[in-house]
Symmetry: C2
Subunit: 394 residues, 2 copies
């Protein structure tokens, strides 16, 4: 496939993201259902945590003033009592309410019980082992900032504040439009007739969209007809992003980018990405349109390189770094200058074995591999035994 145009991956991504508006739709969810979601507004603490003066130790609540001068040679004796006054102390457990007139808690281990008296051999400073009101969270402080992604530990903090509902950004809706004359919808437990192919790309795209925080809208397979593609794109302009799979390579049937150009702005057709060169990017009525090659491996790489950051921008989802591992290559990887190459590798401990069958059409090359070695466009492959970063395929 020969393209007159071949845009640098970084530049193509910048152009695409620049055309994407982050959504401002929000929804209110029970806190517990909001793990992984993005806060659309900061959350203020409605109360103090702790909401009472809390003992941090098992021991005795005391007035520190009573212990001034206490030492091993000059121990102070305090009377155990339910009430704190001069010369008394009250037993408390960790987490207990510290009586108002006490200003410190002595650790059990630092005391000697003699009947109903407690012998103390050291001074204590005011506030010792007392968790003050609001020490953990102060009422009205910002506890979570806007755009924070809620984690399980955050849900626990919300629960401790009695916050049962949170406002989050709605998930970006992504329409998935498969194109092809010989595509068959899933499921396909019977082997399709020769020349027919199962539409597995929609499933793959949709599951990644959901994984990355979007909501997938699965569309019917559209035959290779510019008018029908146009109709399908128009019918999905109520979404936040459209992914069209197939119909991007240069040939007599490669009309999807042309349809995008007709309906809106075609930003890029042909990128320095391997596999994934025939990718096209555009914006139609403010809706970003990613036209992915129909070859599953090429499509998947295009989805990772462009679809994921686009979805994140659309959904106000902060960038999370990919999970990577360092490994040593067991063989040489070849790449093409001018192309960002996603080379597939199998990990075995800290050895990365390059996969040989790396054609764009070979989906199993991705399924069999653990990760990508992403080789920049200005580098010509990686030598055997070189150390590489492997981005795990999530």
């Amino acid at each position: 496939m020969i393209f007159r145009e071949r845009t640098d991956v970084g530049e193509a991504k910048r152009m695409f993201l620049a055309g994407i508006n982050s959504i401002d739709r929000t929804e209110v969810l029970p806190s517990r259902s909001a793990i992984g979601r993005v806060l659309s507004a900061s959350i203020l603490a409605p109360r103090n945590v702790p909401h009472y003066r809390r003992s941090a130790m098992d021991g005795f609540a005391v007035r520190s003033v009573d212990l001034i001068g206490a030492s091993p040679t000059n121990p102070v004796m305090l009377q155990i009592s339910d009430e704190i006054m001069e010369g008394t102390c009250t037993p408390v457990n960790t987490g207990d309410y510290v009586p108002d007139d006490a200003d410190a808690v002595l650790m059990m281990e630092d005391t000697i019980s003699i009947g109903d008296m407690i012998e103390i051999r050291a001074q204590v400073h005011p506030g010792k082992n007392v968790g003050e009101i609001g020490e953990d969270v102060r009422k009205n402080e910002i506890i979570f900032n806007k755009s924070h992604i809620l984690r399980p530990c955050d849900i626990a903090v919300l629960a401790s504040l009695g916050i049962s509902e949170v406002k989050v950004y709605s998930k970006p809706v992504v329409a998935i439009i498969p194109t092809g004359n010989d595509l068959l919808p899933l499921p396909g437990s019977e082997e399709p007739a020769p020349g027919k192919t199962l539409d597995i790309n929609s499933l793959m795209i949709g599951e990644y969209v959901e994984k990355w925080g979007g909501s997938a809208r699965y569309c019917d397979i559209v035959p290779e007809d510019a008018n029908l593609i146009e109709e399908a794109i128009k019918a999905n302009l109520d979404t936040d992003m459209i992914v069209v799979s197939g119909g991007t390579s240069v040939g007599d049937r490669d009309f999807v980018p042309a349809v995008v150009e007709k309906l809106g702005r075609k930003l890029v057709h042909g990128v320095g990405l391997s596999p994934g060169k025939p990718t096209a990017l555009g914006i139609v009525e403010n809706v970003p349109v990613l036209c992915m090659p129909g070859y599953p491996a090429a499509g998947l790489v295009a989805l990772f390189a462009f679809g994921k950051p686009a979805l994140r921008k659309s959904g106000n989802i902060p960038d999370i770094p990919d999970t990577t591992v360092k490994a040593t290559l067991s063989g040489k990887i070849l790449s093409r200058e001018g192309y960002v190459s996603y080379a597939r590798v199998i990990l075995e401990g800290n050895i990365a074995h390059p996969l040989m069958t790396a054609g764009a059409g070979i989906l199993s090359s991705i399924a069999k591999s653990d990760g990508f070695v992403i080789i920049p466009e200005n580098v010509e492959g990686c030598e055997e035994r070189s150390e590489v970063d492997v981005v795990l395929i999530e």
Copy 2:
């Protein structure tokens, strides 16, 4: 809190994991519901992909023998036909069935159409642009190994093979037992009375258990009574792991490790972990028991350090590296020699700001922080401006 015992974190983890048997219960799930699950058996391909000789290009199917000697000065003319025979060629699109008698496909771009004739100026080798049967996946080859975690791209491969169900390991069931006399169950939208604390640890533990691939069983709050704790542990010995929250520090009420010792084997009580020192680990009737400090931040660190690897071993879940980012410290971090310290930091670009309020009781120190700088026991803190790895809090 003073412990006579203080086991090294690595050693404690090894002892705990050595006592854990990986579960062998399995279940059969629809492939699509099995994303993130662990295969309990290898999967063989029930058919070839592609299951027919597939054109890799838009162009013309040819017999390569007809083009021997073709060159710009000696072009070969082929007749367009539905049938492949000497001197003919058949138009094919990408993905089309390649007629049996053709052995190569010429790219459209390498041909010149003249009426119903095609002019060709180059030789072509047999097999060119033809995807052979089984090129992607060969029938009966192992397509996924036992213990593989299914990803969205894998689900697509399964769909392409017509595999609609898969056998996976059952999720390990983790019983969560909160202990404390002054604990109140959630939800708690009303501020609890002074001295009372909401049981947020159960929620936090349970949500992480689910996130890491387990199934949480929430138990009622158990008062601080050795007999009742014993009953609660015995009642949950049908699970794969028990996490007891609270009642681990040394004091007159710290009976949970003692109960574990009575019922089975107490491996460790007191670890070189900060926060999280009072953690205890044991095995009761082959069920691993993690006794976490009740302080939320300390409990969470213990859960990350011991609960996560234990759950993974129990559930046959391969180890996935933590997501980390490199950052420069904006301030010094102090740590205690002999303790693995989980210092909490806020990330701002590639600057990591140490959180000052880092007490074990301060849950908000975790909620407010983006990650941990994990400082080994033989290192005394980190200097300002040093480069550190920040493990993101998931």
